[in-house]
């Protein structure tokens, strides 16, 4: 009798993480946004909209006056594109790692441990897969533990999923088609890319399409 009462008193409750918008309404509606205190992976091939989604999320976070950090493993961040996407550059800390994935991992760890950032992005999208796969599961676990119970969104951009079970949200990006206007050879313009985001984790899988355009 006492055991039953004790069990009832200590009812186990799962505390769901707070969600931040990605800045892309279609993705927010389908996938629900980016969870705080969790590791989120956005992966896909080149020109699949990974950077568009990341910049949209950064723009939303910096416009809420949060300080965000971008750990740029391969020095691929373009400040002009970010400013055009609405990222407030004065609220962004940019760490250029010059192609060193190990430095990127350490820098991300330092930033998460330092605390106080609304979003920490680790961009491994241009890191060769052979290098990216060398990052041990322990390192990912350490990052996940560091960000747990903090209001920080930890976002990782990559070509293929790397963090395995450490990721709470897994978004796969696929390019659908590039949008051109005009006739080839005469006023032909690249207007944008239509991409598709698919949530693979948590299940059930959902998908949303959106366009990145000039």
């Amino acid at each position: 009798m006492a055991a039953v009462a004790l069990g009832r008193d200590f009812e186990f409750r799962v505390r769901l993480p707070e969600i931040c918008p990605t800045g892309v309404a279609e993705v927010d509606a389908a996938a629900g946004g980016l969870p705080q205190g969790c590791l989120t992976e956005i992966y896909g091939p080149a020109s699949s909209g990974r950077t568009s989604l990341m910049l949209a999320a950064l723009a939303h976070a910096t416009c809420r006056d949060e300080v965000c950090a971008l750990v740029d493993a391969s020095d691929a961040f373009d400040p002009a594109s970010a400013a055009a996407a609405g990222v407030r550059l004065e609220r962004l800390l940019w760490v250029r790692c010059g192609g060193n994935a190990e430095h990127a991992l350490k820098a991300a760890d330092l930033l998460v441990q330092g605390g106080g950032f609304g979003m920490v992005v680790m961009d491994l999208a241009d890191t060769p897969m052979i290098t990216a796969r060398r990052i041990s599961l322990t390192s990912w676990f350490r990052l996940r533990r560091a960000v747990e119970h903090t209001p920080t969104v930890l976002l990782v951009l990559e070509q293929q999923p790397l963090a395995k079970t450490c990721a709470s949200l897994l978004l796969e990006m696929r390019r659908e088609k590039a949008a051109w206007s005009g006739m080839p050879g005469c006023a032909h313009l690249l207007r944008g890319i239509r991409v598709r985001a698919e949530r693979h984790k948590p299940v059930p899988a959902v998908a949303a399409s959106f366009a990145s355009r000039w």
């Binding site: 800045g23 892309v24 091939p45 080149a46 020109s47 699949s48 990974r50 950077t51 568009s52 910049l55 949209a56 723009a59 416009c63 006056d65 949060e66 300080v67 020095d75 691929a76 961040f77 373009d78 400040p79 002009a80 594109s81 970010a82 055009a84 996407a85 609405g86 407030r88 550059l89 004065e90 609220r91 800390l93 940019w94 760490v95 250029r96 790692c97 010059g98 060193n100 430095h103 350490k106 820098a107 330092l110 930033l111 441990q113 330092g114 605390g115 106080g116 950032f117 609304g118 241009d126 590039a178 051109w180 080839p184 050879g185 032909h188 690249l190 944008g192 890319i193 355009r213 000039w214």
Partner: protein, 415 residues
Amino acid sequence: MFAAIHGAPGDAEKLLRLAQEFSPRVEQTAADTVALDAEGLERIHGLPQQIAAAIARRAADCGLKAGVAIAANLDAAVYAARGFAGVNVIPYGDETKYLGSLPLTLLDTTPEMLETLDRWGIRRFRDLAALPELGLAERLGPEGLRLHKLASGAGGRPLAPVEEPLHFAEDVELEYPVELLDPLLFVLSRMLSSLRASLAARGLAAIELRLRLKLERGGEHARTLRFPVPMLDTKAFLKLLQLDLSAHPPPAPVVRVWLAAEHAKPRAAQTGLFIPIAPEPEKLELTLARLRALVGEGNVGSPELLDTHRPGAFQMLPRPLASSPGRPLARSLPLRAIRPTRTARVQMASGQPVHVQAEGVRGHVVASAGPWRTSGDWWTSDPWARDEWDVALSDGALYRIYSEQGRWFVEGSYD
């Protein structure tokens, strides 16, 4: 017990220094007069007469022609020094009698008040002191009462000491030259603790640390750490110094360490429920220092676009800045830069690129747009002019390529 020294108006600085030789509590009452707290000087010099004589002797040694007076209250000493030449000691209780012969013009008051008193025939201290307080208050108000007290030698105001400029510095001569960083940090830790205690005792914090290391083979190694906010954390100071010295080590063994702190009022910050999250400035400084040590000095900071049309022009600011919240803009097609830009081999047909080959980029051109011709800075020594193309390659990716002076480059990919 107070002493006052009266000299020439041009000797204000010398008078102040002379007074500070005798007491740390010194007040500059006028350009030609200083007063000092003489309490405790009797243990060094003896009787009040001997204290006054010692001050006068030292003034003469300094080449000052000064009158010295000692009294139980500050104002009596000041007026005696101003009114009488030489050395004067006013016994306790005899102030009214002693100051009686002084003219009222010595009093610090308005000319109108002096004129009123003169019309009444009141010209000396003793005349004013003899007047009844009540009648004086009725006719001249609070100022009349104040003057009456001063003329009676009964002023009781406290000394307002001159604030000395604060210096927080530590200097240590090492017993033997130190080559390694760890023993040096051990010394620095002790010095930082001492500096922190001095700053905390005065309710201050450090906004800048200046370190000077005297080297064994001559010369100095100087480093300055400037903080975004006043800090008072010994551990943070030590870690920042460690990271800075690791990045910029002294070129020779160190024989002497000099460490100084620029003080500032501590930061007063109030948090709120609706304030967006931001890193604590102290923690952020430490994180930035660690990141700089990891990836290099110029690779950490907040990007700022430069006011130019040159592609990829930006500069790095040391840290994120505060700004007002804004609204995100519409989605745009961002570029992932390739730094440095990769040299490419581009085949052209009918003025259009048909094949692109560069390190990590290779494929037939499926669709292209261009050329977009841009140029700038032709009026400087570093002009630029290029033809840009947006190309979709057979691997599905979109790239921006450009030709400059007959050579082709891949600038980045659209993502």
